[in-house]
Subunit: 207 residues, 2 copies
């Protein structure tokens, strides 16, 4: 990983802190990190959870390839180094959002344990809630869904280093949440995440 280059910098003690933002919003900030194969259902769950949280009055924001790869990470490619940097930057952005009071839903394949561990440590070193959600699904089921036709292209050799085909997916060993999208209903998955957020005191219990 890159060493810090900047010197002469110091963290500003802000007038308004994380706790005060939580008081304003009525809930805490946190990062929910959805990891899993392409087609495993990460975005589906994130969108459904976003809707459920919004209905409860929670400020929630989703980060995914749509708004990251086309924006802050548009100058990154798909080399091993760039993929690590992609996840590192998303981790830092997620942390800023969580600090800002938002429940951020970050959906990225993020296939490597080391990259995810770095993101976890970024959060936990500043006592920022970090919840790793393993969106588990058999390769067969993901490939059967293939919503974007990417597996087909990977099998045809048109995409190289595709996770699950010719690049590994390193499954989390101890994620906070382990969903089995080929066995559970979307409603159950969303409910389990809401319950966890309630149990952690990040959102108020539902009426």
């Amino acid at each position: 990983m890159s060493e810090p280059k900047a010197t002469n910098v110091h963290w500003h003690g802000g007038e308004i802190n994380r706790l005060e933002r939580a008081q304003l919003l009525g809930h805490g900030g946190a990062t929910l990190w959805f990891t899993g194969l392409s087609g495993s259902g990460k975005s589906t769950i994130a969108v459904a959870l976003e809707q459920a949280l919004y209905q409860r009055g929670v400020l929630v924001y989703r980060l995914d390839g749509d708004n990251i790869r086309l924006g802050i990470n548009k100058n990154l490619g798909f080399s091993a180094e760039d993929r690590a940097e992609n996840i590192r930057r998303v981790g830092e952005v997620s942390k800023l959002f969580a600090d800002g009071g938002v429940i951020v839903l970050s959906s990225f394949i993020s296939p490597y344990i080391a990259d995810r561990q770095l993101v976890r440590e970024l959060h936990e070193s500043d006592n920022m809630p970090f919840i790793e959600v393993f969106v588990d699904c058999s390769l067969e089921a993901a490939e059967e869904r293939d919503p974007k036709g990417l597996y087909k292209k990977a099998r045809a050799g048109e995409i190289k280093n595709f996770t699950g085909i010719d690049d590994p997916y390193e499954a989390p060993s101890t994620p906070e949440v382990h969903l089995r999208t080929d066995q559970q209903s979307l409603e159950d998955e969303v409910q389990s995440l809401l319950t966890l957020l309630e149990q952690k005191g990040l959102i108020p219990a539902s009426a």
Copy 2:
């Protein structure tokens, strides 16, 4: 591969949009971009505005060269290329926050017109409110303050390419707000920004 743009409408059918987040929060998201010399008062104003907005129930978050350079931009130095990339990334993060519903206060020397113009275009191309605040102050006054002792080091040759000393500051020609921190009171400056936010309909008018 990262997640390319989803094409299946069912995947993102439940998205919560910017307007819905604004309805939840009671105010809109926006980026206020504070540009000016080191020591001009950017952070001082941002901190005071943050406090004033919070008191009105507005979700506000500050980004500055210090907390960003320790995080997402810790692998960037101070070469011309790295400085441009620093501002680009901060612009993208600011835009994400504004989209998320937050009033984000971004304080960066950001001395080059081209870099600031890029950040403006990032916002305006997606109809994201962008307010450039020129924190104007004579070099003499900024150097007299020298809160971090950086001008002294720059004069001694210990820091190279320091804005105002041996690197140019390109002043905005048509900023949305032009503050003169060596002539105005902090209270007046904050009030002018609050008034502008009200006029733009981004925050409710005060009672």
